[in-house]
């Protein structure tokens, strides 16, 4: 597990917990919960740039390369899709949708790490 994974772990869990708590408090998605999900997207973008740099520098992905990039591309769509879906109807339930992002991306990040090493 590398630094990218731990960044996803921390940001993803914080985002999931924030959104869960907001949902349980019957709040609609607001700036803190939406920005927490966008922070997950930001970490993934850093992961993307970092991974491109590593491959460009000659590092080898141990597993299937296209599987790694497939996971990363899919993970990049999840926070954006969830935010879009959540702001179309701003109820407490949309915060639970946002809460699913951090944990889903975390699982995908773990898998990406397995593929890379």
């Amino acid at each position: 597990m590398d630094g990218y994974f731990y960044a996803i772990l921390i940001v993803g869990l914080v985002s999931t917990i924030m959104c869960l708590v907001a949902g349980l408090m019957k709040k609609a998605p607001n700036d803190p919960t939406i920005f927490s999900v966008l922070a997950v997207e930001l970490v993934l973008l850093v992961y993307l740039v970092g991974s491109i740099v590593r491959v460009a520098m000659g590092e080898q992905i141990a597993g299937e390369a296209w599987e790694f990039w497939g996971y990363l591309a899919t993970a990049l769509m999840i926070p954006l899709g969830a935010v879009y879906w959540a702001i179309l109807e701003r109820t407490r339930w949309s915060n639970f949708v946002l809460a699913a992002v951090g944990i889903t991306v975390l699982v995908m990040g773990a898998r990406m790490n397995q593929i890379w090493y």
Partner: protein
């Protein structure tokens, strides 16, 4: 957002499933549609011959999740029926495949989303159709 206050119990929108808790349900279905499709595509592209049955089943599960996601998001009676059919298929699938993979692991050595009642996915595949049916019952078109 001017004057478009969304009310989840607006009678005008009674014949929909894509509101309130339904939005969370659809989001989770969408994640499963995505991951099951990716997994089935990967299995069929790289090792279909190893286990044609299990990998065909993966593809079937992916289609069920896609149909469930789309039909739950759409309004109207017809889509409601499609949802019921898809979610019931999913429930039967996870129960049958789960039981077979548990009692006869030799016949079923390759993983699908539904193997061991979806243990590889935190048993979400087992819980999802039950929540789906409860939600569909609650939002049944009058």
């Amino acid at each position: 957002m001017t004057g478009t206050e969304t009310n989840p119990v607006n009678p005008q929108h009674k014949d929909t499933r894509n509101t309130g808790p339904g939005r969370l349900l659809i989001a989770v279905y969408a994640v499963f549609a995505l991951s099951a499709t990716a997994r089935a595509g990967y299995q069929i592209a790289t090792k279909f011959a190893e286990a044609p049955l299990a990998h065909s089943l993966s593809a079937f599960a992916a289609v069920v999740y896609i149909v469930a996601t789309i039909s739950l998001a759409k309004p109207g009676r017809t889509w409601f029926k499609v949802s019921v059919a898809a979610v019931l298929t999913e429930l039967v699938g996870v129960l049958v495949v789960g039981a077979i993979s548990l009692f006869d692991p030799v016949a079923f050595p390759h993983d699908t989303v539904w193997s061991l009642f979806g243990r590889g996915y935190g048993f979400v595949p087992l819980v999802l159709p039950i929540l789906g049916l409860l939600w569909l019952n609650k939002r049944r078109p009058s």
